[in-house]
Each structure stands twice: as structure tokens, then as C-alpha cells.
């Protein structure tokens, strides 16, 4: 049995995970839909749908455009608001998923980030808070906090001042110097970095001569962005002394191992969950075989092994 000899467990800021595979925020809702396909307790953890202070409908439709090796989305942080998430979604999630979760939080002001993080910090099943300063689909918020080192640091400091749980800052790849932003977050007290969010992209319907997406632009994800994610995980993990969660285009056990060799302690799977609802389960189940093929006994041994 290959499985018995392989150690898939990892640790993120003291939070022990059975394996490093985590569905990325926005591709897994609050677990309800995927739990109809398989028992989601196989997952390392779950990063829940991005939550804001107020309920949001998000952007007008169409919000989805297909691309070669991926898709563009412009959902725009649709969610029922932090109070409804804490009161309704988290208890339901606890009834179907019996492990600690990652709360993904977004905002349009420092105050909003602070309030959402405080509320998530008090929720027992939340182990890690993931602060999204990188949503490309909202104006006057989201990504604008994550494209300048000073702003990212300010959000980090404000959030860290009111929370007790580990705080990961989720960064945007739509920047010229990812290392400067990651370092600014680390210096401001971040416990970890999650990257990458989607790459700003656009598709045009050439028959109708207009953008496919109502908002014109949106975030590109899927295998198309994987090499960008590996590169940024590598750069940031080399430059910082805090753990990195890698995210972007991961589709297979081989991709998970590549991301970990680049420096990721845990790996998020996003777009793949939409195309193949069993993606995370299949990745986790094939990790031991892939580890065996590559002569890996424990996944912890390969984190950041690439020089």
C-alpha cells in the first residue's frame, strides 16, 4: 500500500492539516454543493466564499467567460454578508465538515475589513483568516488595497490588532513587484501570505463586437495562470519568513507538488472545482502515487526545496 507509507500532513501557523489541499475561496461556496458529490471531510481545509460586511449581489451578468485553459469571472463578491455567514452558513458547514476552516474576508474600507475579521475571529471553527486585498472585480476596494505596499500593510496592521487567529493576506498578481507587497504585509504582522488571486483579463464577442462580460473585465483563473502562480509563490517564499498558501491553476497532484516545491506550505484549488466537481478529491487520492513516483515520503520535506 503506497498510501500507508506517505505522510500528506502539513502545518500552517500551528494549524494541522491532514493534507495540503484546500478549495479556494469563491469556487466552493460554503461546501454545500460539492458535499453532494463527495464527502468533503477528505479535504485539508476549506476557504469559504469571500465575505463582506454587507450582503452583496455582485456584478451584472454575464459574469463568466471561457478562455483557453481557464475562465474569466466577474462575480464581484456576491455573499450574504458576514452576520448571515456566521449565523447560517458556518453552522451548516460545521454539520458537514468537521475540520477547521479558513474564513476569506473582503472589504471596501479598513473599518469593514476590521469588522469582518473580528466576527470571523470569534467563530470557533475558523482557524485562519484570509484577508482578500486582491479582488479585481470590485471598485474602490478589493484589489486597490493589495496593489500598493503601504495600503496592504495598513490593512494587515488594522486586522492584526483585532484578531487572535493567524491572518493570511491574499495578494493580487496584478502588480509590478509582488515581493515588495508581501514583505510589507510580513512587516505589518501578517502570519502568512496566500497567492495568487486572479489575473485581470478580458474577452470580446467578435460577432456582437462587445465584451463577453457585462463588467467588461474580470479575473482569469485556471491552468493558464499556473506558471505565474508558481513563479510568485517561489519569489515570495524566498523573500519572506512566513508560510505561503499557493493558489492558481492547480489541477493535479503533480501541480500540488510543484507548488509546494516552489515554496507553498498548503495549496488551494480553484477553477478546477467548477469544471470537475471531484477535482480536490481526485487530487488528494492521487497524491500518494505521485509522491511515490517522485520518491517523496513526506510532503513537508519538499516545501520550498527548489533553490
Amino acid at each position: 500500500m503506497v498510501n500507508d507509507m506517505k505522510d500528506l500532513s502539513v502545518e500552517l501557523c500551528g494549524v494541522k492539516l491532514d493534507n495540503p489541499v484546500i478549495p479556494a475561496s469563491g469556487t466552493f461556496g460554503f461546501g454545500r454543493e460539492h458535499n453532494e458529490f463527495y464527502d468533503i471531510n477528505i479535504l485539508g481545509s476549506i476557504s469559504i466564499k469571500g465575505t463582506t460586511r454587507e450582503a452583496r449581489f455582485g456584478n451584472p451578468t454575464p459574469r463568466i467567460a471561457e478562455c483557453r485553459s481557464g475562465l474569466i469571472n466577474s462575480v464581484g463578491l456576491q455573499n450574504p454578508g458576514v452576520d448571515a455567514v456566521v449565523a447560517e452558513e458556518l453552522p451548516h458547514l460545521r454539520s458537514i465538515f468537521h475540520k477547521p476552516i479558513i474564513a476569506n474576508v473582503s472589504g471596501f474600507s479598513i473599518d469593514e475589513y476590521v469588522e469582518c475579521c473580528q466576527k470571523m475571529d470569534s467563530a470557533e471553527q475558523v482557524a485562519i483568516i484570509e484577508v482578500n486585498v486582491s479582488c479585481p472585480n470590485v471598485h474602490n476596494g478589493g484589489m486597490s488595497f493589495g496593489t500598493q505596499p503601504e495600503m496592504a500593510a495598513e490593512v494587515t496592521r488594522a486586522v492584526k490588532a483585532v484578531t487572535h487567529k493567524p491572518v493570511f493576506i491574499k495578494l493580487s498578481p496584478n502588480v509590478t513587484d509582488i515581493v515588495a507587497i508581501a514583505r510589507a504585509c510580513e512587516e505589518a504582522g501578517a502570519d502568512g501570505i496566500c497567492l495568487i488571486n486572479t489575473l485581470l483579463g478580458m474577452r470580446i464577442d467578435t460577432m456582437r463586437r462587445r465584451a463577453v462580460i457585462a463588467n467588461k473585465m474580470g479575473g482569469l483563473s485556471g491552468p493558464a495562470v499556473f506558471p505565474v502562480a508558481v513563479r510568485m509563490v517561489y519569489q515570495v517564499s524566498k523573500a519572506c519568513n512566513i508560510p505561503v498558501m499557493g493558489c492558481g491553476g492547480v489541477e493535479s497532484a503533480s501541480d500540488v507538488i510543484e507548488m509546494m516545491m516552489a515554496g507553498a506550505t498548503a495549496v488551494q484549488v480553484g477553477a478546477a472545482n467548477l469544471k470537475n466537481p471531484y477535482a480536490c478529491k481526485e487530487i488528494i487520492e492521487s497524491l500518494p502515487t505521485e509522491m511515490d513516483r517522485l520518491g517523496i515520503t513526506s510532503l513537508r520535506d519538499i516545501i520550498g526545496i527548489v533553490e
Binding site: 461556496g29 454543493e33 453532494e36 451578468t61 459574469r63 471561457e66 475562465l71 456576491q78 467548477l274 466537481p277
Partner: protein, 246 residues
């Protein structure tokens, strides 16, 4: 409840120059209502393609689709024996158990297929069923005879007047002086809107939208309704007339 399953293509034949019928063989236990859809994985395309279910029995599904882009074009070239990876039993579907006597079914173009199974179910429940099928021209017309064979009263409209009443489905409803106390519709948005506004009766309408996943996870296809935000793929694609925000 929805599930992923493998299906083998048993038939893939053109009904018109751009509309095809594909019959798939496989387990259909997850399909519970007319108006539900499947989401089909296609080689080389990242997103699956949502297609409404025209009919099904214990071990086969009939789909009717129009070639409108790369995905459906690729489907049209597939042959008997090929195997498809399909998410099945998606969406809420029409409710055939609404209390009424005379029902009207209105389909526009490729909105027609899901009404076929619905007509069967309604006739099986003893309802009197009128069907209005709207197309651009006679060349695009399909399934008129199939609906007649079920025992429905069938009316046709074409925009150019080459078959049936010249004009839109609403013209055919007026001209046919069709009486009904509940309606079901599937077709292009302008048709649904015109129909909803011209009918005093209550009814159900099936909508479409670009989807990411097709099973409710990505929130890509959300819409606002009078009863809150809904996902076209999950709480839809069928909405009650009274809850729609036009």
C-alpha cells in the same frame, strides 16, 4: 439530485441545418423533472456546456441542441459510441403538478426541447395541453409533429411567415384564441418578457445565463428576483412568473 456520470452517444442526427438531436445511454436516476439540464465536458474546452433535457427514460437521455459556438459545433461532429462526461440532474425544472385544467406551453427556437417531456407529463396528468412553437422560419422548425403525436394542440409561428402564423409566439396565441389557465415557457429573453407581460395567467419561465459550474458553487449565473437572489443553475433555470424582476 445531481451527479457526474458517463454516457455513450447512441444517436446524433441533424433535425435542421443547425439543430441536432443527441441520444445518450446511461443511468438517468438523478433526473427528476422536465426542464432540468445536463452539463457536458468537451475535449479542449475549459467549461462544460449546459444543455436542457428534452426527454429521458430509465437508461437514456434525449438532448436537442443548436450549433451556436465552438462547444455545440464540436458536439455536432461527435459520433455513435463516443463517451461523454456529464453532470446530470441539474436545476429545478418545471413543476407539472400545479393545479390547473388547460395549460399553454410556449417554446422559442431551442427553448422548445424541454417542453417536450413537460407536455408528456402534463398529458399524463390529464391536462389539456396547447403548445405554441416559435421559430425564425420554416427551415428552423422542428418537433411540430412530435408534439402532435403526444396529443397536444400545436400552433406554430415564424417571424417570416413561412410556416404557421407570421410573427411571434404572442401573435400565434392571439390568433389561435387559445384559452388556458397556466403557462410554461422557454426561449429567448425578449420572448419570455413579452409573453409574461401579455398573459394575465400565472406561469413558469425557464431562463438561461452563462454558467461557470452549473451546480451552484461559483455564483456566476445569479439573478435578482422578488424572492431574493437566485442562481439560474441551482434555484432555476425555471422561475415563477410572480417572482421575476424584468
Amino acid at each position: 439530485m445531481y451527479k457526474r456520470a458517463k454516457y455513450t452517444i447512441r444517436e446524433n442526427t441533424p433535425l435542421t441545418t443547425s439543430v441536432y438531436r443527441m441520444c445518450l445511454e446511461g443511468d438517468t436516476q438523478w433526473i427528476t423533472r422536465p426542464g432540468q439540464f445536463v452539463n457536458i465536458e468537451l475535449d479542449g474546452l475549459y467549461l462544460r456546456r449546459p444543455i436542457s433535457i428534452c426527454d429521458w427514460d430509465e437508461n437514456s437521455i434525449t438532448l436537442i441542441y443548436k450549433v451556436v459556438g465552438r462547444g455545440t459545433e464540436q458536439m455536432s461532429r461527435m459520433t455513435q459510441g463516443e463517451v461523454l462526461d456529464v453532470l446530470t440532474g441539474l436545476g429545478n425544472g418545471f413543476n407539472p403538478d400545479v393545479e390547473c385544467q388547460k395549460v399553454l406551453l410556449v417554446g422559442g427556437g431551442v427553448g422548445v426541447p424541454p417542453l417536450y417531456r413537460l407536455a408528456k407529463e402534463l398529458l399524463g396528468r390529464g391536462r389539456s395541453v396547447s403548445v405554441v412553437l416559435g421559430f425564425g422560419s420554416k427551415a428552423e422548425l422542428f418537433y411540430e409533429e412530435e408534439f402532435r403525436a403526444l396529443g397536444a394542440d400545436v400552433y406554430v409561428s415564424t417571424v417570416d411567415g413561412s410556416a404557421g402564423v407570421k410573427g411571434f409566439v404572442t401573435d400565434a396565441i392571439c390568433e389561435g384564441n387559445i384559452s388556458f389557465d397556466y403557462f410554461y415557457a422557454c426561449g429567448p429573453l425578449p420572448m419570455l418578457k413579452a409573453l409574461s407581460q401579455s398573459c394575465e395567467q400565472s406561469g413558469e419561465l425557464s431562463f438561461e445565463e452563462r454558467m461557470g459550474c452549473g451546480f451552484g458553487a461559483c455564483m456566476g449565473c445569479s439573478c435578482k428576483t422578488l424572492t431574493g437572489n437566485k442562481r439560474i443553475c441551482k434555484e432555476g433555470p425555471v422561475m415563477r412568473k410572480e417572482e421575476i424582476l424584468w
